[in-house]
């Protein structure tokens, strides 16, 4: 991605037109991919069941769960770090909530504690990664096994139901209500996206995250505590995972120790499809939002297209390769147009 080819006086040419706007808003290309997929699935799904309220509701609700985590992972990747442990931490947080709740803890308090637990896990990963200067890839690979293991050990692998009837208010706020046609989860992800976009684009902390990922030494020379920024991003991922764990728990109403399996690579894929660089410093929150949308669309669309299970892997693989190549082409065009 870091094409170091010298750019010939890019400042002399205006930056207008369609490609220019792609360049300005990196997220647009991902949005276009998402839109194309949406149309394709709507038109070609057998019986046109894709664009029915039934399907869109479950799609939007589950997209939200995935999207919130992908956003946090995207921010972390912009800061130059990775998190492979989100799936396991999700299961761990789910279990925390279920255990607290079934022990009679107030629902809101339990939610709060669950988010705190997620944050603590993020803090743990962050401190180890930053202070010991270990690649976050390894720290969170360890976390991937560690938290799943602890979850299994603590739960004994047993699934556990949740008496959601006792907390109608909280249930509605996080997983049950619909606003018109749109499930509440999707309202959450849109709200959170706007909040994160605001922070990353208009708040100084956002700027610090970008420069930390882009050029850590420069950021440090300018007095930015890059270690703290990175740790904060890990904590952010933990908070997001903690919140989503409860959201997912409310939708499924049952805890399983295998919750979130494989989520880590999908989240990274969503961020990359949305134009986030694996090396840090590059990426936009809107891009990650649409990247998560693309991945979720494929996930849901393939089912509705009645693609047999085994082909979904192949199509997924192709789409991942295809989207990163496409964003690279747009990138190259953007460099040449300036």
């Amino acid at each position: 991605m870091s094409d170091s080819a010298p750019v010939k006086s890019p400042d002399t040419r205006p930056n207008r037109g369609f490609i220019g706007s792609l360049r300005r808003t990196r997220s647009l290309s991902t949005f276009i991919i998402a839109a194309i997929l949406f149309v394709l699935f709507s038109v070609f799904s057998p019986g046109k069941y894709f664009a029915t309220p039934d399907n869109l509701q479950i799609f939007l609700a589950t997209e939200a769960e995935f999207g919130i985590i992908a956003l946090a992972v995207g921010v972390l990747m912009i800061a130059g770090e990775f998190d492979l442990s989100v799936g396991s931490v999700l299961a761990f947080c789910s279990l925390t909530f279920v255990r607290l709740f079934s022990a009679g803890v107030n629902g809101v308090l339990a939610l709060f504690i669950t988010i705190l637990v997620g944050a603590a896990v993020g803090l743990f990963h962050g401190i180890i990664t930053v202070k010991a200067q270990i690649p976050s890839f390894i720290t969170t690979l360890g976390g991937l096994m560690l938290w799943r293991g602890i979850t299994l050990f603590w739960s004994g692998g047993q699934q556990q139901g949740l008496e959601l009837e006792n907390i109608p208010g909280l249930y509605a706020a996080i997983g049950g209500a619909k606003i018109g046609f749109v499930p509440i989860q999707f309202v959450w992800v849109v709200g959170i996206t706007l909040l994160v976009v605001f922070f990353m684009s208009y708040h100084k902390l956002g700027n610090w995250v970008y420069v930390t990922g882009d050029n850590k030494l420069a950021a440090r020379a300018m007095g930015i505590n890059t270690d703290r920024i990175k740790i904060a991003c890990f904590v952010l991922v933990g908070v997001a995972v903690g919140f989503v764990s409860v959201m997912q728990l409310f939708r499924a109403s049952t805890f399983t120790a295998r919750a979130g399996d494989g989520l880590e690579l999908s989240a990274v894929a969503a961020a990359v499809v949305g134009g986030t660089a694996l090396s840090g410093g590059i990426g936009s929150i809107a891009g990650v939002f649409w990247g998560a949308m693309v991945i979720s669309l494929i996930e849901n669309g393939l089912v509705l297209m009645r693609i047999p299970y085994w082909w979904t892997f192949t199509v997924f693989g192709l789409i991942i390769i295809f989207s990163v190549i496409l964003s690279k082409i747009i990138e190259a065009r953007r460099m040449s147009v300036g």
Binding site: Q159, D261, M305, Y309, I325
Partner: protein, 328 residues
């Protein structure tokens, strides 16, 4: 670059076009019908056989059927069920692996006029606990009970002291539903035979070498181990090699498990294994499609117990013949 993009697009489209073809043979009784089998299963041989049954039935009836696997993630399975409902198929066969979480979704789907039946696992209260219209299969817990009985009977015959016997289970996906339920069945058998305690569960992963390595280590680490179960096809397959690696002779530890993978058959022949359960999941997949078809057409709502088949050294030849056909 452009060429490559075109190529990739072409390949994708080709796959999309080719895949749905084939099954639409006309003039068969089920032509035009579409069924969906929503399971919590994983990419393992058990569900492959289940799926084979589904595909065979669909081919015979000329209908279409697809399977959803969810890797024991119930949140995902719940999503898959909602998606299946959104597709308004002619019927859904669902693994009802929780007494509570499926109550409302199934009732809603039935209210929408979709035939939903249970397979492989049912609500513990049967039709009283869930609005599903029919049930096909054998409870995983009963399968666990069957294999437990078989192995403990052999242990009793050897004159071992059942009150102090150590039992362990190897599982591929720790925490996955099938393992939890099957080991509960084994625990029921332990209670029947007066074996105290719980079996220890060994986390083995789906990967063969890792599984074998962990089983071996576990057997070495626990010289007092007497009965070892594989809770799935892959661990059962690796039990024999694990015991051999650990220097055990046939009969030192009694093995039992599920499915008829090649390694399992070797174990039965060489007496490392006492028995293995064929849960006849082929039937569950096959009958799901047939029942959904008949239900759609004539409104039948049967309860079918597909039973379990105990594979031992005595009947191994039959299994050996059928195993390569992916039926057992």
């Amino acid at each position: 670059m452009k060429k490559r993009v075109l190529l990739i697009t072409a390949v994708t489209l080709l796959i999309l076009l080719l895949v749905p073809g084939g099954a639409f043979a006309q003039a068969k009784p089920g032509a035009g019908m579409y069924f969906r089998l929503v399971t919590h299963g994983a990419n393992d041989p058990f569900w492959a056989v289940f799926q084979k049954g589904m595909m065979d039935a669909a081919a015979e009836l000329g209908c279409r059927a697809d399977i959803d696997l969810a890797g024991s993630d119930l949140a995902l399975q719940s999503k898959r069920f909602q998606e299946a409902v959104a597709m308004r198929p002619d019927g859904i066969s669902l693994v009802i692996n929780d007494d509570k979480m499926w109550d409302k979704p199934v009732a809603d789907a039935v209210a929408k006029g979709i035939n939903v039946i249970g397979c492989n696992n049912d609500d513990t209260q049967g039709s009283a606990g869930n609005a599903r219209l029919a049930y096909i299969g054998q409870n995983e817990r009963r399968a666990g009970l069957m294999i437990g009985r078989a192995v403990f009977e052999a242990a009793k015959a050897k004159g071992w002291n059942l009150a102090t016997m150590k039992v362990a289970c190897a599982v591929e996906v720790a925490g996955a539903n099938y393992g939890v339920v099957r080991s509960s069945g084994i625990m029921d058998a332990m209670a029947e035979y007066g074996i105290p305690g719980k079996p220890e569960i060994v986390d083995c992963t789906l990967e063969m070498t890792t599984a074998e390595s962990r089983i071996t280590s576990y057997v070495i680490a626990h010289p007092d181990l007497k009965c070892l179960f594989g809770l799935g096809g892959i661990t059962t397959d690796r039990l024999t090699s694990g015991m051999k690696n650990a220097g055990k002779k046939p009969g030192d530890i009694l093995g039992g498990g599920f499915d008829a993978a090649p390694g399992t058959l070797t174990g039965l022949e060489t007496n490392y294994m006492v028995a293995s359960i064929d849960q006849q999941q082929y039937l569950q997949g096959y009958m799901s499609v047939y029942v959904l078809y008949l239900m759609k057409k004539y409104g039948f709502a049967p309860q079918i117990d597909t039973g379990g088949f105990l594979i031992t050294k005595a009947n191994i030849d039959l299994i050996k013949k059928l195993s390569p056909l992916n039926i057992r």
